[in-house]
Symmetry: C2
Subunit: 327 residues, 2 copies
């Protein structure tokens, strides 16, 4: 029986075997830099585990694992440019370390490199696999656009359904796609790949809702950053959206006016007032319940998959580690 | 026998049948706008003609034609952002009409849409075709990087070989790739697809050298813009590079000092002095000779292809129209 750690080690080995610097080096150095910034390598790890779940051979998905992680890192590179984020994993982002044009073009090239990896991985189901990858990529772009749209909208204009749809596309579909692609290479039947895909969606949703919760209620010492940043940024995360939905008319009114005030209010005063409303509503417990619901749906889907329990172990391990995460 | 015009009409029909607006519309409107800015649709037209050259069926390449043009327009969208070009075909570019983030993300999505079109076009040689498309895409990115690198280099630092390699990647490979992909769908033998690819490379090189020549020697009334812009922009085009290569040491020295002076010289004075050196060297004739050489190589390659002369007619037509072009 292989553990999650085993697949992660395989992914690290695959990445260490691969070379990412070609000519012109001005184009490839930022790519090499991005791919070595670290990160959890969760998507290729899931891809390998999903392949093994249905009896696939590891060599059969080596390049696909490279492809999915390269694509993921491309999206981070362009997202950091669009969000003007100076740091990623504690290191300067490409657009800060180099410049905007380098971020645009090296990102485009990373996307093409992701395709190079997928295209050198032969499969009898190539067209279906590549379509799954590509439709996932389109959804990730759509999710990013929706996230950017929310910035220009008021709290009232964003519904919980809209928000769940956005995080599904921006975060969950790529985890789900990695799992589905891994299982497709192994020749899994359609209903099983579909179940695994949905397992990935609900796991991804739970993960993102946890992120939102930690921003409000994380233990700063463990979380590693100051809480309340989403409130300071007027971010329409799950927390204010759920608070508006379960709160009284006057609480909703107060939240909306705080989120609309933007720069006219002292930041810490803003955090204090919003958190006070959250606490009155027992919002933490309500969000924890929503997260648990997603995890339970994911567990049920995993239970329903027809495969050896031993081979499901790494995916259960992942869920358990996520459920307990504090950062 | 079908003419170039016939294939162009087919391409227009294909584009008119297709819908490019989906949700979120903030993402897709700039894509629809870009794809309807006009343009010569030369790449999909070549793809259709190359397919017919080897007896392929038109329906077999409909989506590939959409794919190659969508990819081309994606590269223009991101190039315009990187070059900060306000206009394209007389219309505002996406980054000016919307903003930089829209240009980044709508561009990324166009790239993914190009893949969607290619992936819905079935073929027994799917992997080879998609690899050809993808390696072409990577070369286009590399060519754009080299072009950007030249901006930071002195005239002396760029060799003619470097320049030819840059325009091959930035301009010629996509024309060549379109032709090769069209022929691959028709099941053409490897040596023929290779000949057609090389035909595309030399045609593309001739086209770009013509562009460089027209900037210096175009008839302003026909060319539609002021000549000498490359000189004003200190652009290391084929003209100054060839002039340095065939000129005397003192002429080379003068050109280098003018191109290095950048903003310290009156623009029109700069154009006048550079053109005077070009004229002394009979540069126009030397560049025309280089262009003719590329066209003749292309014609010889087309002659050597084993296919009906009637079916080669559209490609000859293209060469002839290019040879006489004044803008």
């Amino acid at each position: 029986m292989s553990s999650l750690k085993y697949y992660l080690a395989q992914v690290e080995r695959i990445f260490n075997e691969e070379q990412f610097i070609f000519e012109p080096h001005e184009l490839y150095e930022p790519i090499d830099y991005t791919l070595h910034l670290g990160g959890k390598r969760i998507r290729p790890t899931l891809l390998l585990a999903a392949n093994a779940l249905f009896g696939g051979d590891e060599g059969q998905v080596r390049d696909a694992a490279l492809g999915i992680e390269t694509f993921h890192n491309f999206t981070l590179l362009h997202d950091d440019l669009m969000d003007r984020s100076p740091l990623r994993r504690g290191q300067p982002t490409v657009y800060t370390k180099w410049d905007e044009n380098t971020a645009v073009l090296s990102g485009d090239t990373m996307y093409a490199l992701a395709w190079r990896y997928f295209l050198r991985q032969p499969s009898q189901r190539l067209q279906v696999i590549l379509q799954c990858f590509n439709e996932t990529a389109i959804e990730v772009c759509e999710g990013q656009q929706k996230d950017m749209n929310f910035e220009h909208m008021t709290l009232e204009e964003v519904s919980i359904d809209d928000y769940m749809d956005m995080i599904r596309q921006k975060t969950a579909v790529l985890l789900a796609g990695a799992l589905k692609i891994g299982s497709l290479y192994a020749g899994a039947p359609d209903d099983e790949t579909e179940r695994l895909y949905r397992f990935g969606i609900h796991t991804g949703l739970a993960f993102q809702l946890q992120d939102d919760l930690l921003d409000g209620y994380g233990d700063t010492a463990v979380f590693g950053k100051k809480t309340g940043q989403d409130i300071r940024d007027n971010k329409k995360s799950f927390l204010p959206l759920l608070a508006c939905s379960i709160g009284s008319a006057s609480q909703k009114q107060e939240l909306m006016s705080i989120f609309a005030a933007k720069d006219n209010m002292d930041e810490e005063e803003k955090v204090r007032r919003v958190m006070a409303i959250y606490d009155t509503l027992a919002l933490r417990q309500a969000v924890e319940k929503a997260i648990d619901d997603e995890f339970h749906t994911a567990i049920r889907l995993l239970d329903d998959i027809h495969a050896d329990d031993a081979k499901k172990a790494p995916l259960r391990e992942l869920l358990e580690s996520l459920q307990g995460r504090k950062k």
